[in-house]
């Protein structure tokens, strides 16, 4: 017994240590996932490659804009949320194509492609370093998901080892308007 005691005394703690390491290893999806930076709507949230300052968050039942001279009006079974923001790039020319709203229940609502051709949609623009770009993101979601929303932006959806910015939007309880016109100069 005493001959095996030192061996057992080393094996058991080492096994415990290895088991603890294995249990606490972050999953692969997190290790190769986005590099997260979070902030509030009141501040400019900066990551290494880009930054965002959210200006206004508007809620409406219908949105309307003109596309190639034709008037487009879009209805939804929930509400439209239009977020106007300013984007900045710090290192190189980049698009910010991925915009998601995380609702009150934690569900993710990607920006609406139905309104993808409204004027000023930021995912269609390219941000140059040194030149902040303003525009809007348009989302549609159920009305009860619009409290405690978080806006998540990144260059592409499901970023892998790239920056992702999360901005907690304020609950200022703005009244929802019936109809929101999106003009060339924004909302």
């Amino acid at each position: 017994m005493t001959r095996q005691a030192p061996m057992v005394l080393t094996i058991v703690p080492v096994a415990a240590l290895l088991a603890a390491l294995q249990a606490t290893t972050p999953p692969y999806a997190m290790l190769t996932g986005p590099i997260r930076t979070t902030g509030h709507q009141t501040e400019t949230v900066l990551s290494t490659t880009f930054g965002v300052k959210v200006h206004r968050v508007l809620k409406a039942g219908t949105i309307a804009y003109a596309r190639f001279g034709r008037a487009v009006q879009l209805q939804t079974s929930g509400v439209w949320i239009v977020v106007s923001a300013e984007l900045r790039a710090f290192q190189k020319t980049m698009p910010v194509r991925a915009a998601t709203l995380i609702g009150a229940s934690g569900r993710s609502y990607r920006q609406s492609r139905r309104a993808g051709e409204a004027p000023g949609i930021l995912s269609a623009k390219v941000v140059q370093p040194g030149l902040p770009t303003t525009g809007i993101f348009v989302f549609e979601l159920p009305d009860d998901e619009t409290l405690g929303m978080k806006l998540v932006l990144s260059e592409q959806y499901d970023p892998q080892l790239k920056d992702e910015i999360g901005v907690f939007l304020e609950d200022d309880g703005t009244a929802s308007r019936d109809r929101l016109e999106i003009g060339k100069d924004g909302v």
Binding site: K92, Q128, P129, G130, L131
Partner: protein
Amino acid sequence: MVFDGERKMWWLSLASLPALVAVAVVINAWRNIENYRHRIETDITQGPDHLDYAGATWRLENVRLLGDGRDAKLRLPGQMRLVIVRLVATATRDIGDAWGQCEVSLTDGTGRRWLPLDVSLSNDISRDLDPGREPVSGCGITSLKPPPKDHAALIEEKFVVPAEAVPVLSVKLSTAALRPKAIGFALDLN
């Protein structure tokens, strides 16, 4: 005696284990490292005049700065400026595919990079500035049909940059086969 030899072999194997693991990791990672090196531009030859690169001699032909009203009456809002860079490449040998994935960018001294405008927007701007003339192709399109030996090709790329970066801009060009080597020319805009 046999026991001693065996024990020595055992310790030798144990000691060589970290080295072997390191070698295995490096060999497996070698391809990834090579791929990464082929995407970045670290070895930049800055040229005053002519530079040899990818089977051709390159020179900076023309640079235009638009947006402040001095050139072409085009006025851009705020700090936005349009820089149009033209390069001429004279082929010194048969190029073939050597210009594949060629990238042109503007850099300032601090590491910021501006990539060129996409082809359709660039062509629209060319037609606005010079109606009636065929727009000059960028590097990507020219790399598909490079000039034959001893012939020259004109390449034009457009960039949108902030006015404060204009005095320190230089243009950088690289091709996939020769990256991380790249060539650069200072634009010397005032």
